[in-house]
């Protein structure tokens, strides 16, 4: 019952450039030949409408910031130049927001969702509160890559992830909670290459873990690459050489972390079994589609198409990129079609993989 409650925090900005309207009417006609006659007779669907982006996290955070940046630029690439507003619906790791957009909101292309990257884990884990199927959503696009990495104090006895694998005493890493990306990454390292990490769980956030690292309460932690390179105290750490990078989660090595192996390299090196590989692949999906935008199932295909094309153009807009840079968002967009395939490949797993995921991450 509760999931149906609409949470309203509405604020947004007009992104109106009337000229582009005239530019895109012919374009949209071209792409929607089947509706030519009706479209000729009437104005574009989105004209005078308002698109609402439901963000599954609270205002002021990274997801909210990213959604607001997109909302300020996406409208001008959609025929009819709709207004865009952002509505925050935080709670339960975005399950509330995803349930709402999937089951309650009208799928008319006017309500979109930006959930937490890891919302799909709740679905894989089979929580009964999950009333959505992420695979049935239409993926519009994603703004960033959230590659994770694990790093350790440079004065610790472990010099590489190999040392951790060999060591009898596991290093203590700080983490916020069992569902968090840092925790997930450490469990994957254990599952795939046998690097045992002792997770000290319950810190309120990465800032508190950083403090604990400085005090020596824990010696390692996981964080996204982009956060590490834009925030204190990590910038100072980087200058001082306070930490050493052990491993990263991306498919390719991040250019700013050239020395740490990726999990995929490590899996080849340690000849990880097929099931564990699939577990890792599924669990690391979240980083690939950071700050994504989705439309609920049932949204008319032509509107999905319009949105995807507009998203692709908007993420190349120099204004958007400049604004994102100011807001410490590193734009590296992925197209909706690619995300759709990625989601299908990553989440469509055989039962033994699902079982293993549940064993690792759900009590």
């Amino acid at each position: 019952m509760l999931r149906k409650f609409k949470r309203l925090r509405v604020s947004g900005f007009k992104g109106l450039i009337p000229l582009t309207l005239y530019l895109f009417i012919p374009l949209s006609l071209y792409f929607n030949l089947s509706t030519v006659t009706s479209a000729c007779a009437q104005e574009p669907f989105y004209k005078g409408k308002t698109i609402r982006i439901v963000v599954g996290l609270s205002a002021g955070g990274g997801y909210d910031r990213a959604a607001r940046i997109v909302s300020r630029h996406l409208g001008k690439y959609i025929p009819g130049n709709p207004e865009m507003i952002v509505q925050n619906m935080p709670g339960a790791g975005s399950v509330i927001a995803a349930n709402y957009v999937y089951g309650v909101a009208t799928p008319d292309g006017l309500t979109l969702l930006t959930p937490h990257n890891n919302v799909y884990l709740s679905q894989l884990a089979g929580h009964k509160e999950v009333k959505f199927d992420l695979l049935k959503f239409h993926w519009i696009g994603s703004l960033e890559n959230d590659d994770m990495m694990i790093f350790m104090r440079a004065d610790a006895p472990y010099k590489s992830i190999g040392d951790v694998v060999k060591s009898k005493e596991p290093p203590k890493c700080g983490s916020t909670g069992v569902g968090s990306s840092d925790y997930v990454m450490s469990r994957i390292l254990e599952e795939t290459i046998g690097a045992k990490i002792d997770n000290v769980v319950g810190y309120p956030g990465s800032s508190e873990i950083a403090l604990a690292m400085e005090r020596g309460e824990v010696i390692c932690m996981g964080l996204t690459v982009s956060t590490y390179f834009t925030r204190e105290p990590f910038l100072s750490w980087q200058k001082k050489g306070f930490v050493r990078f052990l491993a990263q989660s991306g498919r390719k090595r991040n250019r700013r972390v050239p020395d740490a192996p990726t999990i995929f390299e490590l899996m080849n090196e340690y000849k990880t079994a097929a099931t564990s590989r699939r577990v890792a692949q599924a669990m690391l999906l979240g980083g690939e589609w950071a700050r994504s935008l989705l439309a609920p199932p049932g949204t008319p295909p032509d509107r999905v198409k319009i949105l995807r094309e507009a998203y692709e153009k908007a993420t190349k807009d120099p204004d958007l990129v400049a604004e994102a840079k100011k807001g410490r968002v590193e734009v590296s967009p992925t197209k909706g079609e690619e995300l759709q395939t990625m989601a299908k490949e990553g989440m469509d797993q055989p039962p033994e993989v699902i079982e293993q995921i549940k064993k690792l991450f759900v009590q």
Partner: protein, 496 residues
């Protein structure tokens, strides 16, 4: 250093920074007054506006200025209507509202505002003075120490229990139980969520506080059918009297301000906890505590303002936010191109001092403003209750709603409102429940972390042992004092 100090002052007074400060103060003034609608939620709402500001100083003049005054004006609502203006102003209800009922609203407000300014000064001064020692100061407290401090807070339940210690302890226990609701971070298991997604994220403190304290008072006001003040309007007991009270209890105010700073510096603990500890400290040994003792107004009044300065210490020194509102502020600072951290203590020292000045100037301005309209505000307590109730109810629910923009929060407010009503009816104290709810989560998390990180070794850390001894002394102190001499204990002026 002196240069930076002076330069910071002029940066705040420069145009348009000062204009932004005035806007911030104006917004903060009303946000503080409106029940439930808190500084944190408003900061989140205002954040997108600050993105367009170019200069860092201008941005935090607006945001920090707003935040700084919410604590002060929040106290006003608590005292006048018995409804917490801010989550961090709830403790002022306990003695401030009885004073209003007695017709002493003017005095209570005078005391609250003066102590608020006092607290803000101490907070700002601590921020300025601690700049050279910030890093070691923050690193002093690890998880084991935080756990013991949370336990220390729990022991204050005894002092907050009021007439019946047993009822107080039970209420505190219920609070601790309520703190267990939600997804447990250690194992990911769902505790007491009863299939409701709303309960996954633990109970939000705002709807609980607003429900427990506001609803019963509104019901009571409706039942009584009179104005808030039970005595007819004869002569407003002077605001000046309240100002004098602050100086009469000068050291108490200073100590409570320092409590606020201390809880501000510690991560996760903030004004929400500090106010209760300061209240408990303020009324320790005061005979008419809970019936309108001015000490119960001064303590939390000072503490909930001084935490702002304390909060800023780790935020500035490490880029590590000392509280939820600081986390949002930090996000805003990043966008305007300021990266809090060590450089704030070197190249950008003037900006750090500008923050100190914002805290001081904002509070002085709002205090001046409050004193101008204080008599009018106090006059509200003589208005017929039935005229006030619709407005109060409206703002109470708006306030609860804005905490998370969730209708489920309104249901929580109602449920805790009913619970609060019956607690008042049967003489159960409400503060222990709140304290248990806030501290339960902190204590649980840091106990887990301490044990996971150190095994049982942390129990023998010198810092932990010292804190345990302090806790025992705090618990035993009233008893010891009572034995030493009953006569002294019963003197209400002696508020140590």
């Amino acid at each position: 250093m002196i240069d930076a100090f002076v330069s910071g002052f002029w940066q705040v007074l420069a145009w348009p920074a000062f204009g932004y400060l005035l806007i911030g103060i104006a917004v903060g003034f009303f946000v503080g007054l409106l029940p439930g609608l808190g500084g944190l939620a408003t900061l989140a709402l205002m954040l997108p506006f600050s993105y367009t500001i170019k200069q860092p100083v201008e941005a935090f003049c607006f945001l920090l200025g707003m935040l700084a005054v919410t604590g002060t004006t929040g106290d006003i609502t608590s005292i006048l209507f018995g409804i917490p203006g801010e989550g961090s102003s709830a403790a002022l209800i306990l003695d401030g509202y009885p004073m209003s009922k007695r017709g002493e609203a003017g005095r209570a407000l005078g005391a609250a505002i003066t102590s608020s300014v006092f607290g803000a000064m101490v907070g700002a001064l601590s921020l300025a003075l601690s700049i050279p020692i910030m890093r070691p100061l923050v690193l002093l407290f690890g998880s084991p120490e935080l756990f013991i401090i949370a336990i220390m807070g729990v022991t204050f339940i005894g002092t907050l229990a009021g007439a019946s210690l047993l009822k107080g302890l039970l209420a505190g226990g219920v609070g601790l139980m309520l703190a267990a609701i939600g997804v447990d971070p250690q194992t990911g298991s769902l505790r007491y969520t009863f299939g409701s997604l709303y309960l996954w994220d633990r109970l939000d403190i705002i709807p609980v506080v607003v429900g427990l304290f506001a609803i019963p008072e509104i019901v009571d006001l409706a039942v009584r059918g009179t104005s808030i003040s039970e005595v007819p309007k004869t002569k407003l007991v002077g605001v000046i009297e309240g100002v004098k009270d602050t100086f009469r209890h000068f050291w108490l105010t200073v100590r409570c301000s320092l409590i606020g700073v201390y809880f501000g510096v510690l991560p996760v603990l903030g004004a929400n906890v500090a106010q209760w500890i300061a209240y408990a400290h303020g009324v320790q040994g005061v005979k008419d505590a809970g019936k309108g003792a001015v000490e119960g107004v001064l303590g939390p009044g000072a503490a909930n303002n001084s935490t702002r300065g304390g909060d800023l210490i780790p935020t500035v020194a490490f880029g590590i936010p000392g509280s939820g509102s600081m986390a949002l502020l930090l996000g805003a600072l990043l966008i305007v191109g300021l990266n809090p951290g060590p450089e704030m203590l070197k190249q950008h020292l003037d900006v750090t001092f500008a923050m100190v000045w914002v805290l001081i100037i904002a509070n002085l301005i709002v205090a001046g403003l409050c004193f101008l309209i204080l008599n009018q505000l106090a006059a509200l307590t003589f208005i017929r209750g039935s005229l006030l109730i619709p407005f109060l109810l409206f703002f109470v629910f708006i306030g609860s709603f804005t905490a998370n923009n969730s209708l489920a929060d309104l249901i929580a407010t109602l449920i805790f409102g009913v619970a609060g009503y019956f607690m008042v009816l049967y003489g159960w104290p409400r503060p222990p429940l709140i304290l248990g709810l806030i501290l339960g989560k902190i204590a649980e998390n840091y106990l887990w972390i301490s044990t996971a990180a150190y095994g049982s070794k942390w129990l023998l850390f010198p810092s932990v042992i010292i804190l345990i001894i302090i806790t025992i002394v705090i618990v035993a102190y009233p008893t010891i004092k009572e034995r030493r001499g009953r006569a002294r204990y019963e003197r209400p002026d002696d508020a140590i």
